[in-house]
């Protein structure tokens, strides 16, 4: 492909970087990224990936926009209350950059459709707000061998990690099983300072771009933690667990399962 004059202008700040250049920008334009969730994390991830020119973005979300979302979910707006979040994200991202095609998938991920969905994408981003989805996405990506950039937020803290199946750790190497329902607050129950979503979502977008470009060191076997109150970042090593139930050589989990979605009963 040849760049149009418009693309040369739009992506000039990428192209002048030695690590990107025209070749890197073409990789970005040809990349296909699936974002799970069009909420606090999915919005900034998708926003930056669309701005960067990621050619195909899939966004999965079965929720509609509520007023309480707008304090942090920056792809949506007040006029779109009640609209499906996936449709709103598509409108926002495609308006930002006509080079981007966004597929709005207005379903809740489940074990019967996730493998078929992720096979069309190069990289998966988890911006979900609940444990059932987080574990389902992890297991599916491990089984499909898809790189997964996972992010999570709670109150003033956030974390990011990059899972490269076959090379590094997975989410279950870190936390083998989801916590029992009722024990932990979900992000929907817990408060969050909106700008934290921007920090963590931007870190996830950066991980995705590094994977697309094949440059830099992604957070493989590492968990990056950010504490907004303390203004501190901490990186901890996450070794691959040789007995991991899903990514070890003899996995116990060989079929996907849907966990009970009882973490997020409370809505506001």
């Amino acid at each position: 492909m040849e760049f149009t004059d418009e693309q040369i202008h739009r992506y000039s700040r990428h192209i002048i970087l030695p690590e990107v250049g025209g070749k890197g920008q073409k990789k970005i334009l040809q990349a296909r990224v699936l974002i799970v969730g069009a909420g606090g994390l999915g919005c900034p991830v998708g926003y930056y990936l669309a701005a960067a020119g990621v050619g195909t973005i899939g966004i999965v979300d079965n929720d509609t926009i509520e007023l309480s979302n707008l304090q942090r979910q920056i792809a949506h707006n007040t006029e779109r209350l009640g609209m499906p979040k996936a449709d709103s994200a598509k409108m926002t991202f495609e308006a930002l950059n006509p080079d981007v095609t966004v597929h709005a998938i207005k379903e809740r991920l489940n074990k019967d459709m996730i493998m078929d969905l992720i096979k069309d994408y190069d990289i998966v981003v988890d911006g979900s707000d609940n444990f059932p989805t987080r574990y389902l996405v992890n297991d599916a990506c491990v089984m499909a061998g898809k790189p997964l950039v996972s992010g999570a937020i709670l109150r003033f803290e956030g974390q990011v990690t990059t899972i490269i199946p076959g090379e590094g750790h997975c989410y279950r190497c870190l936390f083998e099983e989801p916590p029992p329902p009722g024990l932990v607050p979900s992000c929907q129950e817990a408060g969050v300072l909106g700008a934290l979503c921007g920090v963590i979502g931007s870190l996830q977008a950066m991980e995705v771009l590094k994977l697309i470009l094949g440059k830099g060191q992604p957070l493989k076997n590492q968990l990056l933690m950010y504490n907004a109150f303390e203004s501190s970042f901490r990186k901890v090593k996450v070794p691959r667990n040789p007995d991991c139930p899903v990514c070890s050589d003899n996995p116990r989990i060989t079929e996907l399962q849907d966990y009970e979605a009882e973490y997020c009963q409370m809505r506001f």
Partner: protein
């Protein structure tokens, strides 16, 4: 001195920074290591910034010459991918 014959030539007159460099970089990316790119430009600042940026990227600047009242010609040899 022997005249150096460029393998490719681009005319970026009328462009200003950073597009002068963006166009030059895209052109040299498409070439083979060892080949020479000729850049003709008329933006004064770029006559200094392009040679510097090309060297930062590891390429060899062979010539920077003002050829008339408004224009410069720059020759760069591609040294690395």
């Amino acid at each position: 001195m022997e005249e150096i014959k460029p393998d490719k030539s681009i005319n970026i007159k009328g462009l200003i920074c950073p597009y002068t460099f963006v166009k030059s970089k895209l052109a040299i990316e498409e070439m083979e290591v060892g080949q020479v790119l000729e850049i003709i430009l008329d933006y004064p600042e770029a006559s200094r910034s392009i040679p510097k940026s090309m060297e930062d990227h590891g390429h060899k600047v062979l010539k920077v010459e003002k050829i008339n009242d408004t224009d410069w010609v720059i020759l760069v040899r591609k040294e690395r991918e």
